[in-house]
Subunit: 443 residues, 2 copies
């Protein structure tokens, strides 16, 4: 039905009369023998060998970037680092390239590649990142399926905003089309709360949007968020334990197919190190403990006091330098957090905190944020009023607390940050196919 | 970590001292014994039995809609239709309900339920539809993983529009934020074409948007589309064979857990019939054949001639009445289709057609649309010019044809239509949690 991908050809092993489809990634030759690297992006590339190079290249003028169909025999390889190679008899050049074709064998830095949005995923590095991303999603799906979670699709278009989560994009003329001002969702949490009260355990992986003018290596205007919401739980530790086992299930096995063949040795080592670190011991501290540690031990931060924000720099220091592990920080000050978070189990009137957590990891900082949700009507309403929120707009959300309300909680994980960390990339722009950031929405 | 769901409790079988969490769905009693139905939406509900009803209900005043934690012993059931039941010793009422709680035991029609967006998924029918949807997605994922497809996330925000696919929503002030007018995607096809030329085989399941003022039972302003794009293919039949095996893989096994327990007998029968029909023989005809059949055999349609559109009514008649099977219609007139479709293999100058297909199914009409894509620069450019398109805006797309271009094709499947058909629902509004349609974007 479909021609075999190179991944399939390599799986089948030694065989005659095989056609290999892909793009030429490199061509070189000595006097007696030539080599071409053919990749279709499905995984490892195919090393192709040809005899009598001057004659062969005259008949088939191979150039880097061409798409080709190469015919020959697959045999065990005599070269290093690959099991099989293609002894090439003939080539059909399908699509040619101009001399200016920019993706040559020489490594191009990722910043330059961002200016080549339609070609950049032909590089080994960025292709392998997208394969890793796809595999991570499949592993996360498996984790949730095994635990009886229902995958749901909350809306992108919403007439409510998940209060406090960030600036929103508005749909033009939405008040005409929908008879209500309509925005792109910043978080699916409120809708997942609705669904978790019908289906108990729900999760989603869905696009979210933040109209913030931030230029960092960890923010996108459009990103994918994994969110889950769980009914009949009443302790933050149930959430942190769950998140830890979720991420550990994802890194439980290496992904040799992705890692070994595609990155340079330094990258490979770093990826293995990060997988290993995620598999190790994790730590949990309260916000108050975190502030104490930062003030006491972090260079230049002696003036940090209770009530201050924990910055990304603080997070990276805590996870990367101090604990050298993923760290859950729980029980943040109430005034730093949104209206729907209930008081902490151990509550100090003089330092009011809420039942929530952030998961911070080295290099990245915040990866996951979650909390219990205030599930009783009166305290929720009071908190909203004290923050000056419009109760009428949120009646649909409040009504959940009047109709068989249930203690529940959940979390959101920035998917690009997870992919970025595990693929040892420096910028979330390089782990999503077409990044959208301020001043940039090419094609 | 998490309390057991009812699905898990039922899986574990007979056991003492079990706590069951969920909502009360019904309560009834005779003089000596009482029954309550408890559901948490995870699957089948738990039948709970209690003795000495007047005393029990005085201690625990159960009402439909309450959330509860029921404690007792799980034993093999003496009732029909369920394996286990809970002999209930005590109940904690967690969240109470007002007398006006609208989701009572009596079946409510789906139109009425749409006015209860936060509660409607507590009904057996709509909860089971969301579970079916989740299972279908998992099965589709498995199909693609097994065939080495990479799952990718093309952008929702785009500065291009997939020409001809439909009216777009525009993001307000996008030209300020992104320095370009930015729209919500109507189809990911063009971006998937880019990625398929790097990764060979890609697929996605992603939200798409159409700003059309249509009020039908098969259209949503926001819907989820499964799209795939495949390199190194050059025949429409490769696509139709692929789509047929994809959908057959999804219906290969019944979903007894979802179907048996949740729908009323009439629905169950209809669902089984639809699964069966999808597993049977499919048919393929050309557009020209389809027009002939309609004109010849469809009542009242004798005037239909070559060049006319095949309407939804025609589609339903062809698939539902004439063939009684899913039907691929191939090779539509060029002028009915977008710019990127190449000429048909067998091309008649007097009746120019393109290498494309629609999959139509009974009850629904079009479920999938796909085609080969014109992969050579000159004919593509000429077609765009002849349609008066702006070549400059599409330079990124055209550049693919200049840099190692590859014959390729793909398709898009409206996911809600598949869920709607297989769950025997009448309206796509009832198979997505929060439907968005003109004049309606509640919560």
């Amino acid at each position: 039905m479909l021609p075999n991908s190179i991944k399939q050809v390599l799986r089948q092993g030694a065989k005659s009369n095989v056609t290999v489809y892909g793009h030429v990634k490199s061509v070189r030759h000595s006097k007696n023998v030539g080599f071409a690297d053919i990749s279709d992006g499905s995984g490892k590339s195919m090393a192709a060998v040809f005899k009598d190079p001057s004659k062969f290249l005259e008949a088939y003028p191979l150039k880097v970037g061409q798409s080709i169909a190469a015919v020959g025999r697959v045999t065990e390889s005599r070269g290093k680092g690959q099991e099989y190679e293609l002894l090439m008899d003939s080539v059909k050049i399908i699509g040619d390239v101009p001399d200016s074709y920019p993706i040559q064998k020489k490594k191009i830095n990722v910043q330059t590649l961002r200016s080549l949005p339609t070609l950049r995923h032909r590089t080994q590095t960025l292709a392998s990142v997208l394969r890793l991303r796809s595999t991570l999603e499949a592993r996360l799906s498996k984790f949730f399926v095994e635990r009886d979670f229902i995958k749901v699709n909350p809306p992108v278009l919403t007439s409510s905003d998940c209060e406090g989560a960030g600036e929103t994009f508005k749909v033009e003329k939405s008040s005409e089309f929908f008879e209500k001002d309509t925005y792109l969702t910043v978080s699916s949490q409120l809708h997942l709360e609705v669904l978790s009260q019908s289906l108990s355990r729900v999760w989603t992986l869905t696009p979210c949007f933040r109209a913030e003018m931030s230029h960092t290596n960890r923010h996108l205007s459009e990103f994918w968020m994994l969110e889950a919401e769980i009914s009949f739980i009443d302790d933050v530790q149930q959430l942190t334990n769950f998140v830890e086992s979720m991420i550990k299930s994802v890194v439980a096995n290496d992904i040799p197919d992705l890692i070994d063949s595609r990155f340079d040795p330094k990258d490979r080592e770093e990826i293995s190190r990060r997988f290993e670190l995620m598999r190790g011991q994790w730590n949990t501290i309260t916000y108050s403990d975190a502030i104490d540690l930062i003030a006491k031990y972090m260079p230049g931060e002696a003036n940090v006091v209770w009530g201050d924000s924990i910055s990304t720099a603080h997070e990276k220091w805590l996870a990367g330098s101090h604990f050298k592990s993923p760290v859950f920080i729980t029980d943040y000050p109430q005034e730093q957090k949104p209206f729907y978070m209930p008081k902490s189990k151990i509550f100090d009137e003089s330092r009011p905190t809420v039942a929530c957590f952030d998961l911070i990891i080295p290099e990245i900082g915040e990866l996951v944020g979650g909390s219990l949700r205030e599930w009783q009507l009166d305290p929720l309403k009071q908190e909203m009023l004290s923050r000056g929120m419009n109760i009428d707009d949120m009646q649909w959300y409040l009504s959940l607390r009047e109709n068989g309300t249930v203690p529940h909680g959940g979390f959101g994980l920035g998917f690009e940050r997870l992919v970025c960390y595990l693929s040892a990339m420096d910028n979330v722009k390089d782990v999503i196919p077409f990044p959208r950031v301020p001043e940039s929405c090419t094609c």
